[in-house]
């Protein structure tokens, strides 16, 4: 067992102890009565957990909405118990680390429900089982509902981000931002759904729960469709990278390496997450236009003649043309068009100079040149990293942006990249 695994187990153990302690205290302080409706709600929550959608190692489902409704109906103890029990079937069906996963999910869900439930009760939220809210009471339930949602979301996202961070080695903030910020609007809407579910169950009984099945499935489909959309984007990029690599086997892995370098430079230059994501995509697709160029030219072992060079120079235009009609790639067109521009205006494309060239394209240019020089080509052997950095510095201010070259040189000096980075997953993570 390595130290990361040990830390993970310790964390899960601590969460479990905390959850069981708080659950015991809550059941003692606020006992509940078992009812058919409570069992049915637990079953629906368990079902929604079984059909949860996995994305970036995290399951997304509407379980918390069902459990919030249970809390609003029966109180924190019933809500927490229903929530915890709802996770058991899905944990049994997991393919790996069933026990660890099961313990964590039970404890985490229980803690989320307890925290949310106590927040709801603490600010005067009324339990509505058997006595549905009347119109005049609704304004009074808004604050408790907001607090329940906020506290549940915060505890849930923090605990899940922590466990993913511990198991993957990624930073906690990075995991949280990439995995949870997009869910905030959906979580807010689910809070309204939870209130509606609680109210209808309170007024109509268990039949009300039946009426909610389809809306709950539709709400769950939101996550499913979002994930499907992201996967389609990733698939598109992956197939285009395959097109590039099929064309020129010598550049196999080139796009991924350039993407990795560009992302690092972008982060060091203070790019936003969104901008980093876009530069990664641009780097993956920057050579797409080479699909239109014959291998006789791409793989030529001797220097290119003028005509052949003219053909090569067309690849940014062709690449831009191929992607311009794709909505989620169209904003990369200026970057791909300009990635062979030089800051002194002597590059190819529109002979832009200095800051006329998009910053992303200047970053890409440095990363592209570095990888080209450090890779073996049919007509020359790979250069060493030191020589390549010297070459980049020699051309800084003419071919390359000086600031970017220095940023990248500093990253390399600090050991930012191992000699042979394994970047197979870059395309997946890019979108």
């Amino acid at each position: 067992m390595d130290s990361r695994d040990l830390r993970l187990r310790l964390f899960v153990g601590s969460v479990a102890v905390l959850a069981m302690s708080l659950l015991s205290v809550t059941i003692y302080l606020r006992p509940y009565t078992l009812s058919l409706t409570l069992v049915a709600l637990t079953a629906v929550a368990a079902l929604s957990e079984v059909i949860a959608v996995e994305f970036s190692s995290i399951n997304f489902s509407i379980t918390h909405a069902v459990c919030a409704a249970t809390t609003i109906l029966f109180g924190p103890a019933a809500g927490a118990l229903a929530t915890g029990l709802a996770t058991i079937p899905a944990s049994f069906m997991a393919h790996e680390r069933r026990v660890l996963r099961g313990v964590f999910n039970f404890s985490q869900f229980t803690l989320v429900a307890l925290a949310g439930g106590w927040a709801y009760v603490a600010v005067g939220g009324r339990l509505i089982a058997g006595a549905p809210l009347r119109t005049a009471e609704i304004p009074g339930v808004i604050l408790p509902l907001i607090l329940l949602t906020f506290v549940s979301f915060t505890v849930n996202s923090s605990l899940v981000a922590a466990v993913v961070s511990l198991s993957s080695g990624r930073s906690l903030l990075e995991v949280w931002k990439s995995s949870f910020t997009w869910t905030i609007p959906a979580e807010s809407a689910l809070a309204v759904l939870a209130l509606a579910l609680a109210q209808v169950v309170a007024s109509e009984g268990i039949v009300g729960l039946g009426l909610f099945v389809v809306p709950l499935i539709i709400a769950g489909q939101f996550y499913e469709r979002y994930v499907a959309l992201r996967r389609t984007y990733a698939d598109t990029v992956r197939s285009l990278v395959a097109v590039i690599e099929a064309k020129d086997s010598y550049t196999k892995g080139h796009s991924e390496r350039v993407a990795c370098y560009s992302v690092d430079i972008g982060r060091r230059l203070g790019f936003s997450d969104r901008r980093v994501e876009r530069i990664e995509l641009a780097a993956l697709l920057h050579d797409l236009g080479k699909v239109a160029i014959s291998r006789n030219i791409l793989l030529k072992k001797s220097p290119l003649d003028d005509d052949e060079y003219e053909v090569i120079k067309a690849h940014p235009d062709i690449g831009a043309h191929i992607i311009e009609s794709v909505p989620f790639l169209a904003d990369l067109v200026p970057v791909i068009l300009s990635h062979h521009e030089r800051v002194d205006g002597a590059g190819y494309g529109s002979q832009l100079t200095g800051e006329q060239i998009p910053l992303e394209a200047r970053v890409l240019s440095v990363a592209d040149a570095f990888d080209a020089m450090t890779s073996s080509r049919p007509y020359r052997a790979a250069m060493s990293r030191d020589s390549t950095v010297r070459e980049l510095r020699r051309n800084a201010g003419q071919q390359f942006d000086q600031v970017i070259v220095e940023t990248f040189a500093e990253a390399l000096a600090n050991g930012a990249f191992p000699e042979d980075p394994s970047l197979a997953e870059v395309a997946d993570e890019a979108v």
């Binding site: 109210q199 389809v214 598109t236 014959s294 794709v326």
Partner: protein, 403 residues
């Protein structure tokens, strides 16, 4: 233009007949604030209609219209729909919107009146509305009635709109309806459920219940928008691969689209719809995608081709059922196990390819010998019919399939 005007006239006539029928139904009481709140809710939802790429709309207000039908007098509901439709047009204010609004109003109006008329013999209207507002819980069989009415309402409204779109676009109504149903089935169930829930929540929570219902419908809308985005992303993926193929071989420009158009028409002629028709279209569009791994000017391609002609799209999840068809088209003899539907799909693509001189006759024969003679005859007959008719030029996939 003429067809569009005819459809509008039919819609107007349907609406007038609905109003006439509504006037003959029993009267139920209502309060003005109810009308105003529902008009506000319906207006918000009508402003949130989802516009499809070809200019058609998917309305989001049906669920609330159903809720209103379960609560109020049918004439009040018609007035609500009319007012909300007009109010929603004010910020939109473009000519095309009037047509869409009329279509939606006709579909909703007809559905409202038909459902209300069906309820009268059952003694459920207007007494049902009064019952829902009385504060007493419903009996189990009444819940069942209410849900059935909801399904009838949502199904009728969805069907009428799909027929309108199909007729407006000159598509076969049956295939379009069936194709759309495979995508819109959930929407019907959701509209029915949310409509009933809206009525139940309005009964206990008043205007707050209405607000909660509107939020639920907007969540549903967002989910539907995501579905559209997914379909647009599918099309974008195909489009970008076609562009890459055309960049490599400029002589192929427009070939994939033309073949796909013909294949879709042939598929329809043979009774395909929904996913099966879409799969055929994708296979036609991507026939030859393996050429991206080859180079016409380079003689060292044999080793690259060994990877399989459809390798580039193998990892693309939504094309997973198209890959076997592409494999069959490219290497019919090497592909030992093939489903009958894959074989039929491959033969359609190859036969159309031969008809447009983009596929070699011998390559097509290799596929043909693996397909049953009955299927071959059917596809050949359909292809001949399509090539003979002008409809091939205007053929487009199902209303939802073409998103």
């Amino acid at each position: 233009m003429k067809r569009s005007r005819s459809v509008a006239l039919v819609e107007l006539a349907l609406l007038l007949v609905s109003v006439g029928l509504a006037l003959r139904l029993p009267v139920a009481a209502f309060a003005w604030p109810d009308l105003l709140w529902f008009v506000a809710g319906l207006t918000i939802l009508k402003l949130s209609d989802v516009w499809l790429p070809r200019g058609d709309t998917v309305g989001m207000s049906s669920a609330l219209a159903l809720g209103a039908l379960l609560l109020f007098d049918v004439r009040v509901v018609l007035v609500m729909l009319l007012l909300a439709g007009m109010l929603a047009l004010v910020p939109k204010g473009r000519n095309r919107m009037w047509r869409a609004a009329l279509g939606a109003l006709a579909a909703e109006g007809v559905s409202v009146v038909v459902c209300a008329a069906l309820l009268v013999p059952l003694g459920l209207h207007p007494s049902m509305g009064l019952l829902l507002r009385s504060g007493h819980a419903l009996r189990p069989e009444q819940y069942l009635f209410v849900v059935l009415v909801g399904l009838l309402f949502a199904g009728l409204e969805f069907g009428l709109l799909q027929i309108e779109i199909a007729v407006g676009n000159g598509q076969p109504v049956r295939a379009s309806l069936l194709g759309s149903l495979s995508y819109g089935g959930w929407l019907i169930a959701a509209q029915a459920s949310v409509g009933v829930l809206a009525a139940l929540m309005y009964r206990t929570m008043g205007v707050w219940g209405l607000a909660v219902s509107v939020v639920m419908i907007l969540v549903m809308r967002q989910s539907f928008v995501l579905l559209l985005e997914i379909r647009q992303a599918y099309n974008a993926t195909i489009d970008v691969l076609i562009r890459a193929m055309e960049a490599q071989s400029p002589g192929r420009e427009g070939v994939a689209e033309r073949n796909a158009e013909l294949c879709t028409a042939v598929g329809r002629e043979t009774g395909l719809h929904g996913h099966a028709l879409e799969r055929l279209r994708y296979a036609a569009l991507l026939l030859g995608v393996g050429s991206l791994e080859t180079d016409p000017e380079c003689d060292a391609d044999a080793s690259v081709l060994a990877g399989g002609p459809a390798r580039i799209v193998e990892g693309v999840e939504f094309l997973s059922d198209v890959v076997p068809v592409l494999r069959l088209c490219d290497s019919p003899r090497e592909t030992t196990h093939a489903r009958r539907s894959d074989l039929a799909c491959s033969y359609t693509v190859m036969a159309v390819g031969v008809a447009t001189n983009t596929v070699g006759h011998e390559q097509m024969l290799l596929v043909r010998e693996r397909v049953s003679p009955r299927v071959v005859r059917e596809i050949d007959r359909a292809l001949a019919a399509v090539l003979d008719s002008d409809s091939a030029r205007t053929a487009t996939p199902g209303v939802m399939g073409a998103l």
